[in-house]
Amino acid sequence: MDQALRQEQADTERLADPDRSSLPTPAARPALLVDDLSLAFGAIRAVDSVSFSAAPGEIVALVGHSGSGKSTLLRLIAGLDRPDAGRVVIDGREVSGPDAFVPPEARGIGMMFQDYALFPHLSVLKNVLFGLRRLRAEEAMARARTALDRVGLRHRENDFPHMLSGGEQQRVALARAMVPGPGLLMMDEPFSNLDRRTRDVIREETSGVLRESGTTTLVVTHDADDAMRIADRIMMMQGGRIVQSGNAEDLYKHPRSLQVARFFCELNEISGTCGNGVVSTPLGDVSAPEIAEGAAATVCLRPKEIRLFAPSPGDRTGTVISGQCLGDSVLVHLAVPELDRPLRVVVPATDAPAPGQTVGFAAGNVLVFPAN
């Protein structure tokens, strides 16, 4: 109870002073601590000994393919599922663990769902008021209206959820989850039901609201773009475990596995075998000291990191099969004699070669992983 009150107070202060920035400070007590958390459904280890923490105000994205365990992890933290082992500590209070299980309604968290889960029988305003029952009526009303103002939907407060567009529903869901001032906000695929244009706008807005309020947030998404644009830190899950964690640049530039690399970028993949610390491919040798001798390896070239140029003798060349306009860039399919599949190359629209043309190519950055 104390906790909740303090939280509300903190939130009121934030609302009163929107400019106050709350940068994550590593020294501070983590807003969320997950310690060796596990849950199995029969033989499937949906969440397998996961540990991490989030600093106050930090926005952490949990990414992975469907079935990687990210949504289950979210539900465990929210208290919607009970872990088999491990602890969840929110703002210093153990809410799941061997000695405690706090039901979701008493955890002081907010949650947003992929389908928004707006209550269909309540108006927009009443949806936002739902979590404010502990406040006096006038105060609750004032805060709900402020929150609706913040997402630009004050004028729709008497409408019902089915009357709103997808983007508007998302905004109401955000306002509803934020208004009680949760110590931790969790979002499950918050943008996946929006069309692309709306998605960009809403993502910016949501990010703005989260930063302004300094809310510690955990976003689950299967979309690399969402994660890179909104999060301070990205954690990639696979098979119930966190396989890599870091900022967007880390995961993009230094992926630790082929899966992580594939998740963040489309790749041209070429197989080869490792010998003497070098992977031999039809396109030449790549140094790979960390790959075992004789093991199969996959060499990856990002489409945007391949350069095309007018060939000189001795250069590797390919023939342009087609060019697809992507707006300000062009996706070129390049037939290379040594490869059985065409290389995909993305070049600025101004530099796009014509189909049939023979061009030279060179890869800038090359990633090498053990083949799986």
Binding site: R75, A78, G79, L80, D81, R82, V95, D99, A100, F101, V102, P103, P104, E105, A106, R107, I109, G110, M111, F113, Q114, D115, A117, F119, P120, H121, F130, G131, R133, R134, R176, A177, P180, P182, M186
Partner: protein
């Protein structure tokens, strides 16, 4: 909250979410209430009935079992033939009157088995309206010159029960025919199958699970029937149980017969469950663009309409009109007697009380299952729903001894502490009756609540919970407003089922307590026809409520279908 969860350690560890425990305890109580009569039945039966069992085994059981089996087989075949045929007629063809037939074919559901038997005994009596009319047409003057086959026979019972129970098959099969992808039927036609080939080689085999579900429900009703078989002189198991207790006051003997019947019930439930599993697979097939109906004109259209009207007229039209006429005569002649008004009040009173309890418990059990799906909650929901398959006689026989035991206990405590005898507090009052109704019809309300809840996305629960609302508060603020229509519909179904219920009412009602159904039974058994028609008509009219409900539920489908046709 965390402290209590920790205190309960292991039991709490079985629960998925906080706050579910209270709901599960309440569900468990409901499940125990439903299971109690079955457990008691086994206990009584194993106590042995001495010599009576030998008598039952040699003289009663063989005939009763044979009759029951014959009746089940006959009714089963008959309801499948009429139900599936009618469903195909209204889904594969279009003809003038088809829209009306669509819902009119449900009307016989409003006529309980004992009322259709009661009405036809009168209608087909040698000097009744039908036989007299036939004689007048043929120029005979005396009943001895022309006799129709005796309706008081197992054949008569099969036909009469079949004509009021076929809607179970019609309903489930029609829904499945409407769902069947047109693509499949079109594919069959392009492969050279004609209309009949499509029906017998594709539509019917695909509908087999739906037919099995409908038929098993119809057979459960058949097994439950005590009135029709008595009026028509068919000594079934149900009737034997009833008379073993009423006429010979032999509870263990009745319980032993009831156990035999329970075995038959289990068989029916297994058939139904397997069929439902099969349907899940058959129903999920493709995207369902419904097949266009073939338009019939002229003589063919008239034939289709007549064929479709036959079951409606026999199962509903004739008995309802007959009862209406008799009731009007009776009221003209003697006015509305005080007795019947009193009985109507009794009926409504116990039915309303049972409905309120059943809907309340049904909601508890369904919500418990939602909070803890697939585990304890789901099991409790299934146990609490056992009653739908249990014939009223079985429940009543099973309840007699626990209720008497409870009465003795309360009486003993009361006499010991207060010096006052409470007498037969439960078994001597309508409480026993209400208990039996709730046990028997809890499946209807729990099923209704469960179906309603299943349409509410579980993320709404999660939203409410993470916004600080408890499990109970979530039910009150989110689910109740959203599932109110489903609960209302369930309440109507339970209420009407209670009003129609005969076998348990006969066995458990307090002395001098008559409902409309028992009144009718008494008059039919005595061979008198005084207020019986009024009581029967009242039951049929109330019974129309769920039919209207069902017709409205399937309404949108019918409408959408109609629009696609044009």
């Amino acid at each position: 909250m965390s402290a209590t969860a920790a205190t309960f350690g292991h039991s709490a560890a079985a629960l998925k979410r906080g706050g579910a425990r209270g709901w599960l305890i309440a569900s468990a109580v409901a499940a125990v209430l439903v299971a109690a009569p079955i457990i008691a039945l086994v206990a009584i039966a194993t106590r042995g009935s001495g010599d009576v069992w030998v008598h039952l085994l040699t003289h009663v059981l063989p005939t009763a079992t044979l009759n029951t089996m014959l009746l089940l087989a006959g009714v089963g075949a008959f309801v499948v033939f009429i139900g599936a045929g009618a469903a195909w007629l209204v889904t594969a063809y279009d003809f003038p009157g088809r829209r009306i037939l669509d819902w009119a074919l449900l009307l016989p559901l409003a006529v309980p088995t004992y009322i259709v038997a009661y009405a036809y005994l009168d209608l087909l009596h040698p000097i009744g309206p039908i036989q007299s009319a036939i004689r007048a047409v043929l120029g005979f003057t005396s009943p001895s010159q022309l006799r129709l086959p005796e309706i008081r026979s197992i054949g008569g019972a099969i036909i009469l029960l079949g004509f009021v129970l076929y809607p179970y098959v019609y309903l489930s099969t029609r829904a499945l025919f409407l769902m069947q992808a047109a693509g499949l039927l079109d594919a069959a036609r392009t492969l050279g199958a004609g209309r009949y080939g499509v029906f017998f080689r594709v539509a019917l085999p695909l509908a087999r699970p739906a037919i099995a579900i409908g038929a098993s429900l119809a057979l459960m009703e058949t097994l439950n029937d005590v009135g029709a078989s008595e009026f028509l002189g068919v000594r079934t198991l149900t009737l034997s149980i009833y008379s073993t207790w009423i006429n010979q006051s032999n509870l263990p003997g009745a319980a032993q017969l009831a156990l035999v019947m329970l075995a038959v019930v289990v068989l029916l439930v297994v058939i139904e469950r397997r069929a439902r599993r099969g349907q899940r697979f058959a129903g999920r097939s493709q995207r369902t663009a419904p097949a266009a109906r073939q338009r019939l004109t002229g003589a063919k259209a008239a034939l289709a309409l007549i064929l479709g009207l036959i079951p409606v007229l026999i199962g509903f039209g004739a008995p309802a009109i007959h009862l209406l006429i008799r009731a009007i005569h009776r009221i003209d002649f003697a006015g509305l007697s005080g007795t019947i008004v009193n009985e109507a009040a009794n009926t409504v009173g116990v039915s309303a009380a049972a409905t309120a309890i059943a809907v309340g418990l049904g909601l508890v059990v369904a919500y418990g299952a939602r909070l803890d799906p697939g585990r304890l909650g789901g099991v409790l929901l299934r146990v609490a729903s056992l009653g739908y398959a249990l014939p009223g006689t079985v429940i009543a026989i099973g309840l007699l001894s626990p209720l008497a035991g409870l009465d003795n206990l309360v009486d003993g405590i009361s006499r010991g502490m207060l010096g006052v005898s409470t007498g037969l507090l439960l078994s001597g009052s309508a409480a026993a009756l209400i208990y039996a109704y709730v046990t028997r019809f809890l499946a209807v309300s729990a099923g209704g609540a469960d179906a309603g809840l299943s349409k509410v996305s579980v993320t709404l629960d999660h939203s409410a919970r993470t916004l600080g609302e408890t499990a109970t508060g979530t039910l009150r603020r989110i689910h109740l407003p959203l599932i109110r229509p489903a609960l209302g519909a369930a309440a109507i179904l339970v209420f009407v089922d209670c009003m129609k219920e005969l076998p348990a009412t006969l066995l458990l009602r307090p002395l001098n307590f008559e409902t409309l159904a028992t009144h009718l039974y008494g008059e039919a058994a005595r061979g008198t026809y005084e207020d019986g028609a009024v009581a029967a008509l009242a039951i049929v009219l109330v019974g129309l409520l769920p039919v209207i409900l069902l017709a409205r539920l399937s309404g949108p489908t019918i409408l959408r279908q109609g629009r696609l046709d044009s």
